[in-house]
């Protein structure tokens, strides 16, 4: 266990941005997304009772390659304690 990589001590810029960013008010704020980025399907949020927090798959999938930050600096440890180490658990267990 001595070869474990050292965890970064500070959260990354992306982690900090996620933490300090405020929630958009989808129904009241017009966002100009950069060229090539589709806005959420307006039809989903037209209902006057809607809180404006419905998103179509095509809109959501655009984030996949854009935001890849780990949720926290201790994420690898947390993952190991919950989901486990995929490198051992994924191996089929020997029946011996």
């Amino acid at each position: 266990e001595t070869t474990k990589p050292v965890e970064p001590a500070q959260p990354t810029a992306g982690m900090q941005a996620l933490r300090s960013a405020r929630f958009l008010q989808i129904r009241n704020e017009a966002v100009n997304y950069p060229d090539g980025i589709k806005s959420p399907n307006p039809a989903l949020n037209q209902n006057s009772k809607s809180k404006g927090r419905q998103y179509d798959k095509e809109f959501l999938l655009q984030f996949q390659e854009v935001f890849k930050e780990k949720p926290s600096i201790d994420w690898d440890l947390k993952l190991k304690e919950t989901v486990g180490d995929s490198t051992d658990s994924a191996r089929p267990q020997s029946a011996r």
Binding site: T12, A13, G14, A17, L18, S20, A21, R22, F23, L24, I26, E29, V31, N32, Y33, P34, I37, L44, N47, K49, S50, K51, R53, Q54, Y55, D56, K57, F59, L60, L61, Q62, F63, Q64, V66, F67, K68, E69, K70, P71, W75, K78, L79, E81, T82, V83, G84, S86, S89, A90, R91, P92, Q93
Partner: protein
């Protein structure tokens, strides 16, 4: 305290509210994020070790989130379903609901489910992702339906199964007199949700998702309870 009040004034003064920067503008320095309708909690069921561990110790809460950005940070840094050991499950549930039949909010409920028996013929990672996106993007139910509790993927020897848990089986719940739907209305809501679930799973018209109540499954002593509805 005084200190934090001053600090927040200072922050307001230096932030230009009209300048909206999304993660698409600058992934390291965005100032707005996209809120989800609900806060969701991801759970994981570890495969049993074979040493008589009880199920409660195998069910682990991983993380809760309430924005689109945070969802992708998690998804991009967690073991894909296709790499999980047999007998693992991921559960994505609304915060405050344990993904168990015994939870008071699930005990009158049921689930839509589909088993993918040819594990090699499908891309389970894409299917599970699309079902999660349909859940967090609120495409599975209408706002007033109040049925969807969460979604689940089971990794088993002979199949993958994806399920969608609902709060009711179509009947009004005890203590909800007056607010309840008639059984016909309740059934229509569940069937609509089932059809949207089927669409999210990209199933063919002749591949049916099946609905069963949790207590039916519990009493049958098996997860293969008789289907009440199909869509």
């Amino acid at each position: 305290t005084n200190g934090s009040a001053e600090e927040s004034t200072a922050t307001t003064a230096t932030t230009n509210d009209s300048e909206i920067k999304t993660v698409f503008d600058d992934p390291d320095n965005f100032n707005v994020k996209h809120p989800l309708m609900h806060t969701w909690t991801l759970w994981f069921t570890k495969p049993p070790s074979g040493k008589g561990d009880n199920w409660n110790e195998l069910l682990k809460e991983v993380i809760s989130f309430d924005s689109v950005e945070e969802f992708w940070g998690i998804y991009n840094n967690i073991t894909p379903t296709s790499d999980l050991a047999l007998k693992s499950d991921y559960h994505l549930f609304k915060k405050g609901v344990r993904p168990e039949w015994e939870d008071s909010q699930n005990k009158h409920g049921g689930k839509w489910a589909f088993q993918f028996k040819d594990k090699k013929a499908i891309n389970i990672d894409a299917l599970w992702l699309h079902v999660m996106l349909a859940a967090i993007g609120e495409n599975l139910e209408d706002e007033e339906d109040n049925e969807v509790m969460g979604v689940v993927v089971n990794v088993r020897r002979g199949f993958y199964r994806i399920g969608l848990w609902t709060r009711t089986v179509g009947k009004a719940l005890p203590g909800e007199a007056g607010k309840g739907r008639t059984f016909e209305q309740g059934k229509e809501v569940l069937l609509k949700i089932g059809r949207r679930f089927k669409a999210a799973l990209q199933l063919k018209e002749n591949e049916n998702v099946e609905f069963s109540g949790h207590t039916d499954s519990a009493h049958a002593g098996s997860t293969r309870a008789k289907a009440k509805f199909v869509a």
